[in-house]
Each structure stands twice: as C-alpha cells, then as structure tokens.
C-alpha cells in the first residue's frame, strides 16, 4: 500500500513537471521575436503591408538600382539613412506605422502590430 502511494505520488510529480515544462515552452514560443523581410523592388515595398508582433524585427532589402529610404510618414519619428542598391536596414518594431520613401514620396508602406 505504501509503495503504491509512492508510485502514485511520483506520477503526480512527473505530470506536474511536464505541465510546467510545457507551459514554459509555450510562453517562450509566443514571445520569441521574429525577423520579417520587406523587399524594395520595382519601386515598391513588397509586401506593402506587413503584420508583426511587438518586438519583431523588419529587414528592408533594396533590390532596386536606385537608392531608397524608409521613414515614418506622419512625424518622421524614425528613419533609415539612405539605403543604396543592394543595401538593407532593420528595425525592431514597437508600434504600428505608416511609412514612405522620402526620396520617392509616392512609395508607401504600412506596419501593423497585432495585439
């Protein structure tokens, strides 16, 4: 009877430990930042709209033969420097934003931070 109790108790410990381990693992998957890519080609941001989690990083890669930049549109809150042909620029995202290229002001993009 005593040994049966020990086996039962240990099994409970094991199940509880597995539950904890699984919970930690799920939490870590949820918060692991991801890296997203936006290509600048044919004078467009591709994709023009991108959905990310807060803390994710976006890398813009310039595949055009002319230089571009990436600048927050409303207040110019953030901006890359000039990204030459073949160059790239990355930023960790903290909030949703509309952005554009100040060199070619008709080129526009959008970042949506999913809650």
């Amino acid at each position: 009877m005593n040994s049966l109790w020990i086996i039962l108790r240990n099994s409970m410990y094991l199940l509880f430990s597995m539950f904890l381990l699984n919970s930690c693992s799920s939490a870590s998957e949820k918060t692991e930042p991801k890296v997203h890519t936006v290509e600048i080609k044919e004078m467009k941001f591709q994709p023009a709209e991108i959905s990310v989690q807060k803390g994710d990083t976006i890398v813009w890669i310039n595949k055009d033969f002319v230089a571009h930049d990436v600048t927050e549109e409303t207040t110019h809150a953030w901006s890359s420097s000039v990204i030459p042909n073949g160059g790239s620029w990355s930023m960790a995202v903290t909030e949703s934003a509309d952005y554009f290229c100040t060199i070619h002001q008709v080129m526009k993009g959008k970042i949506v931070v999913e809650e």
């Binding site: 044919e42 004078m43 467009k44 055009d64 033969f65 002319v66 230089a67 042909n85 060199i103 070619h104 002001q105 008709v106 080129m107």
Partner: protein, 178 residues
C-alpha cells in the same frame, strides 16, 4: 483672359512635348539598332539630369530642389547601368536621328526654362518633368523595347520603367502645389 491664354499655351506645350519629343514615335517608328537604342536611352536620361541641374541652380523651392536631386541621382544610376551593360556587350552607343532630335528639343526647352525665374520657373520645370516623363515612358514602351534585339538590353529598358512611372507620379504630386 491672360491666364486662359497661358493655360492654352501650356496645354499646347505639353501636347507638343508628349508628341514631338520623340518625333519618330509620333509618326513612323525608325528602325534602330541596339547601339542606337543604347544611345537614345543614355541621351534621354542625360537630358533629365541637365534639367535637374538647372533646377538646382535656379529654384529655391524645397520640393522642387528635392525632386531635382532625385532625378539627377536616379537618372545617373540608369546611365551607370546602361554603361556597364554596353561595356559587357561590347556595344558602342551610336548617334542617330532620334537622339539628335531629342537633344535639339532639349536645348529649346532648356532655353525656355532658363528665361524664367521664381515660381514661374518652378511651375515650368515641374510641368516639363510631367510631360517629359510621359513622353519617355511612351517611347521606351512603344519604340525602344520593341526595337531592341539583345535580351539584356531589353531587360534593362523594362527594369527602368517602374522608376520612370514613379518619377511621373512624384512629378504630378509636386505639380499640384503650383
């Protein structure tokens, strides 16, 4: 009445530029070799660089100056791409009737622009940029690409079209301020 006359003149000017900047394009397309197509491409880009340099000298308008800087840099980049390709292909750009007519028309336009100052210059410059880019896009699509035999030269011409269309949209956006 005076404004109406000016608008009529402007409309005629735009129609003239769009139709006759590439004279052969308006009537019967000339037969161009790849070397001649390369020459037309380089000349057409150099003309817009020259307009941009004039704007940088004469204008004090922030939007005009920024647009002119973009035109100068982008069209220099196109010439750089064209130069690298013709070197790779072993082709020497060859002067021809289209590039000669382009240069002759550009001289007249530059002379007209040079005679203007202040807001009149800014408006004339951006109006010309709209008309010139429309004419160049039409010519690249309707004359230069169909005439080109070499696949790499054809691809280069196709690759510059998105930039030309973006320049046109940008010019039209700036034009709304005048």
């Amino acid at each position: 009445m005076k404004i109406q006359r000016q608008l009529s003149s402007l409309a005629i000017g735009i129609i003239y530029l769009a139709t006759f900047s590439f004279p052969a394009f308006s009537q019967e397309n000339p037969k161009l070799s790849d070397a001649e197509v390369a020459s037309v491409a380089v000349v057409a880009n150099q003309i817009d660089i020259n307009y941009a340099e004039l704007a940088k000298e004469k204008s004090r308008n922030k939007e005009i100056l920024k647009f002119a800087e973009t035109m100068a840099n982008d069209h220099k980049a196109v010439i750089g791409q064209a130069a690298a390709l013709v070197k790779k292909l072993g082709v020497t750009p060859k002067d021809n009737v289209v590039s000669q007519q382009l240069l002759a028309d550009a001289e007249k336009t530059k002379s007209t622009l040079s005679s203007k100052n202040g807001k009149d210059f800014d408006k004339a410059y951006i109006d010309n940029e709209v008309a010139y880019h429309k004419a160049v896009i039409s010519a690249v699509e309707g004359l230069l690409i169909p005439e080109t035999e070499n696949a790499e030269l054809k691809a280069l011409l196709q690759n510059i079209l998105p930039a030309l269309r973006t320049h046109l949209s940008h010019a039209e956006m700036v034009q709304k301020q005048f």
